[in-house]
């Protein structure tokens, strides 16, 4: 490890923030490469453990960067890594929000907004499929996914019930 881990964290994650088109999952391989191979903050197994923890905890997926920062330099590292991976893209989003407000009557901007909406929905569906493929190893998990999708579509009840039911079903099945 070098003398300036906070500076390295800030520079590494700020750059990744600006290339993460499509979200945190788009740069997950880069986050791993930077953390394991380039800076040697973590072993491959250590990164896998942090990734599993970030998946197990609630919150945006980008928190994997926060965890790497925490591992490298404690709370200061967590704050620096979080602000670095969010800051540059947040500034762009903040600026774009202003532009959208100012030109909201422009037909081009309306086209941008209504054109991107179906892409957003397609990409959300794609991320759901990718998640399902990686976790649905057997019939039970597949059923949990399908049942939760149906629950979300046809009821307005709190989805925490579906998450709890899915966890309980898999836990009981494993214990039997």
């Amino acid at each position: 490890m070098r003398d300036e881990p906070l500076g390295d964290l800030a520079a590494t994650f700020a750059l990744l923030s600006l290339i993460a088109i499509g979200g945190a999952n788009a740069v997950m391989p880069d986050i791993e490469r930077q953390s394991v191979e380039v800076h040697r903050w973590l072993t491959p197994q250590g990164f896998a453990d942090l990734f599993a923890l970030a998946q197990a905890a609630p919150g945006p997926n980008v928190m994997i960067a926060s965890l790497v920062g925490y591992h490298v330099a404690g709370l200061a590292g967590l704050l620096v890594a979080t602000l670095a991976i969010c800051g540059p893209s947040c500034l762009l989003a903040y600026g774009l929000a202003g532009v959208v407000q100012r030109y909201r009557a422009s037909p081009w901007l309306k086209a941008v907004r209504s054109g991107l909406a179906p892409l957003a929905v397609g990409l959300i569906a794609a991320s759901g499929l990718v998640m399902a493929r990686s976790v649905d190893r057997d019939l039970l998990h597949g059923l949990v996914t399908v049942a939760t999708a149906g629950f979300t579509i046809w009821t307005t009840r709190n989805p925490l019930w579906a998450l709890a039911a899915g966890g309980a079903a898999a836990g009981i099945a494993a214990a039997l």
Partner: protein, 187 residues
């Protein structure tokens, strides 16, 4: 415009309300925050309709950075200025980070336990269903027309089935979808 009509009829949204709403989305957001942001902003608080949510998420996706974080900044600024953007962002990231640090040591002690692993696996399977369900709900409300719906399907196939890099899918399809939307709105 729809946004202006909404802004006139509804009372203003305060930064505190934004912090609480996005905080709830962050804390519930197991396996991804987007379905929870949709549920809370659209179905619970009724600050946005499905179409406006999808548009905001679309803008969040062509920008670099985490999509829902971008959405929180843009929505926060739109309804409550700089303080709103900051409050929405702090709500989305702050409470989950506190939880993450708090459970980190628990996870190191018990995370490898087979039952814990099984329960987390079941919750992940449910989380995938939550994301898919939200996509279906949004798709039904979009009224995109055949060309734009086709672009959405291509995005799904490219990113979900063929697993192309997201940046190629987004940057490749966005200009086509925008051009299609422009044609559609031109009389």
């Amino acid at each position: 415009m729809q946004d202006e009509a909404e802004a006139k009829s509804a009372p203003p949204i305060t930064p505190l309300q934004l912090f609480l709403a996005f905080g709830k989305a962050g804390l519930c957001g197991f396996g991804g925050v987007a379905p929870w942001a949709h549920r809370i902003l659209v179905e619970e608080r009724r600050w946005l309709d499905d179409k406006a949510y999808a548009e905001l998420l679309g803008l969040g996706q062509i920008l670099p950075g985490p999509n829902v974080v971008n959405l929180s900044i843009m929505f926060g600024r739109r309804v409550a200025g700089p303080a709103g953007a900051l409050a929405a962002f702090a709500g989305l990231m702050g409470p989950p980070l506190v939880v993450l640090v708090a459970i980190g040591s628990l996870y190191q002690s018990y995370g490898g336990h087979p039952t814990v692993q099984a329960v987390l696996g079941g919750m992940s399977a449910a989380a995938a269903g939550l994301v898919l369900g939200m996509a279906v709900k949004l798709a039904r409300k979009l009224e995109a027309g055949p060309l734009l719906a086709g672009a959405g399907v291509l995005a799904f196939l490219g990113a979900g089935v063929l697993r192309w890099p997201l940046i190629l899918v987004v940057l490749g399809l966005a200009p086509l979808a925008i051009a299609a939307a422009r044609r559609r709105h031109t009389p």
